[in-house]
């Protein structure tokens, strides 16, 4: 078992190549506020959520996502993992309680400011959500493109990141011809390309075989070593057993945390 907080250097073998560890200069998270490192990235306090007049899906959640932390979010199907991820991603508001993202109460953030905050969060959807008409390279570069950056300024970074996730030879390929694992890595690379402060991944190993799941886990650990907080929602106990990391277990809408 690997201790997520004590990893010194991990080399990621993909496609028969051994890539150099990425330099912190390139993939260091873009933290805008460096004055208060003790402040968590996201803070939940007595958060509850219900859909319409139905029962509460999530109840009394109180926890922090500290900077550079690594945690698994697990629980049975229907426990509310994806809903919790949506709350973390600011695509839902709680019915009660307080959620503070990057020090701001999310219920008070104007709509126009949400895109700027979302740029600090990388998200990997369970169904990848790749654009089918764009190549691997273009899908990964999309977040930078929507930020108005010139292609010349990010081309090398995108190619390097694709090599890092083992897709260096697939940059001009459309998603339709990629395998499930490759699509997953494209989705991960897209979430990482702008060096988010926190990465949310919804069942990132759900569509891949065990060896590929281990590779992806190594990828997340390397990313965490470089300073990004990681939240992985998963059912995969075998995957969780490989890393000595914080576990957040959702059961019937309640959260138990095992440090």
């Amino acid at each position: 078992m690997v201790n997520a907080s004590k990893i010194s250097a991990i080399r990621l073998p993909f496609c028969g190549h051994v890539y150099r560890p990425l330099t912190i200069f390139v993939y260091e998270p873009q933290t805008s506020d460096t004055s208060d490192w003790a402040q968590p990235l996201i803070h939940f306090e007595n958060v509850g959520l219900r859909y319409g007049m139905g029962p509460e899906i999530l109840r009394d959640l109180t926890f922090d996502i500290p900077k550079s932390s690594f945690q698994f979010l697990t629980g049975p199907s229907g426990a509310g993992k994806t809903t919790l991820l949506r709350l973390l991603f600011m695509s839902l508001q709680p019915t009660r309680g307080i959620i503070q993202s990057f020090g701001r109460d999310i219920t008070r953030i104007p709509r126009s400011e949400l895109p700027m905050l979302r740029r600090r969060v990388g998200i990997v959807f369970q169904d990848f959500r790749l654009l089918d008409h764009l190549t691997t390279y273009e899908n990964v570069a999309l977040p930078l493109r929507v930020r108005g950056k010139e292609e010349g300024s990010y081309r090398r970074d995108v190619i390097e990141l694709l090599k890092w996730v083992g897709l260096g030879e697939r940059i001009n390929v459309l998603p339709a011809v990629l395998s499930g694992g490759e699509k997953q890595r494209v989705a991960i690379a897209r979430a990482l390309i702008d060096r988010p402060e926190i990465l949310l991944a919804d069942e990132p190993t759900g569509n891949v075989d065990p060896p590929m799941a281990r590779r992806l886990l190594s990828l997340f650990l390397e990313l965490n070593r470089l300073g990004t907080a990681v939240v992985i929602a998963t059912h995969d106990l075998a995957l969780m057993d490989q890393v000595d990391a914080r576990r957040m277990i959702l059961t019937d809408g309640r959260l138990d945390i095992y440090e």
């Binding site: 390139v26 993992k81 809903t83 695509s91 493109r145 929507v146 190619i159 390097e160």
Partner: protein
């Protein structure tokens, strides 16, 4: 993070090969350049633009034809002199013409001679007519300046005094009726035009929204990777502007070409029975530069309409995504745990 750092100098061909492999294609547009919805929308826009331009041209043609009729009739007035015992018809005709020509606004006076009068009566009385034997009124045709017509009331009064048998007909009754008819025709045409334009607007709006619904996943992905609403809206605007310009240009140019071709055929086949019949039925197929300008304006309106619809729909979609965020009761599109 250059890859060259890992390559040794003794492997130049390998490094070259890798550089070739790393070439990426020119960055494609964020929206797929063509898909089924986009092509269908382009065809719908082309058809609606064609129909709208055709109606616009037809109304323009009717208006021009009606104005031509009105102008032709109001360009002349006639003085009719009824025969009377003891009246020197020749002298009365000359006197009436001269009196009429003294008014400002008259240009020319022409007494219809015996032959011309006989030709006018030929359909009713047959040929070989001797006008001396019949009490037939005689006519004087006075050409007037349309822009500065004479004072018909004064002319009528003067003629009544000087030549009591003379009767001035300024065709006012005919002109009024014709103007009324022309206005009605143009009004009907304008009504049809409004209906066609309304249908076009609704069709374009719904077709654009339909085409956009197939791209909702793109809006969502852009939104979730941190794109601002204005960026997403601009991308869609650009995309739909291209589609609508192509469709509207195709429809508009087809309609303009049709009018130009009909006009060319009419000019080439002038004085043939077919052309005369077409002219009698439809008038001349000339829509003038204002007609072509109208067709161009229609194309621009359609393009703008599609673009604005695309923008509003995208903004609304993003608003709905944010609405779901602030209202957990709405779970549209949420994934299950």
């Amino acid at each position: 993070m250059s890859e060259t750092g890992t390559n040794t100098p003794q492997q130049p061909d390998k490094a070259q090969k890798r550089r070739v492999e790393m070439t990426v294609r020119p960055t494609g547009p964020i929206l797929p350049p063509s898909n089924i919805q986009g092509n269908a929308l382009m065809v719908v826009i082309a058809i609606m633009a064609f129909l709208a331009c055709l109606t616009l041209g037809a109304v323009s043609m009717v208006r021009a034809t009606a104005a031509g009729w009105q102008s032709q009739i109001s360009r002349e007035v006639t003085i009719q002199i009824k025969p009377e015992d003891g009246l020197d018809m020749g002298a009365a005709l000359v006197k009436a013409r001269d009196l009429a020509l003294t008014f400002v606004g008259t240009r020319d006076g022409r007494i219809m001679d015996d032959d011309a009068t006989a030709r006018l009566l030929e359909p009713w009385l047959g040929t070989g007519l001797n006008l001396e034997d019949l009490p037939v009124p005689r006519l004087i045709v006075i050409t007037i300046d349309e822009s500065n017509p004479p004072d018909f009331a004064s002319m009528r009064d003067l003629l009544k005094v000087e030549v009591p048998q003379a009767f001035l007909d300024d065709h006012r009754t005919w002109v009024d009726r014709l103007v009324q008819m022309a206005r009605t025709t143009v009004l009907i045409g304008s009504g049809v035009l409004i209906l066609v334009f309304t249908a076009m607007v609704l069709t374009v709006v719904f077709a654009t929204r339909g085409a956009l619904s197939g791209n909702r996943h793109i809006i969502e992905v852009l939104h979730f990777v941190g794109a601002e609403s204005t960026f997403v809206a601009q991308e869609f605007q650009k995309h739909f502007l291209k589609i609508s310009l192509k469709g509207a240009a195709a429809g508009g140019l087809l309609a303009a070409g049709l009018f130009a071709a009909a006009n060319f055929w009419q000019t080439r086949s002038m004085a043939t029975p077919e052309s005369d019949q077409a002219t009698a039925l439809f008038g001349t197929f000339t829509i003038g530069w204002t007609g072509y300008l109208g067709i161009f304006a229609t194309m621009i309106v359609i393009a703008l309409l599609t673009t604005i619809t695309a923008r509003l729909t995208v903004m609304r979609t993003i608003y709905e995504i944010d609405l779901i965020r602030s209202d957990p009761a709405r779970t549209d599109g949420l994934m299950d745990d």
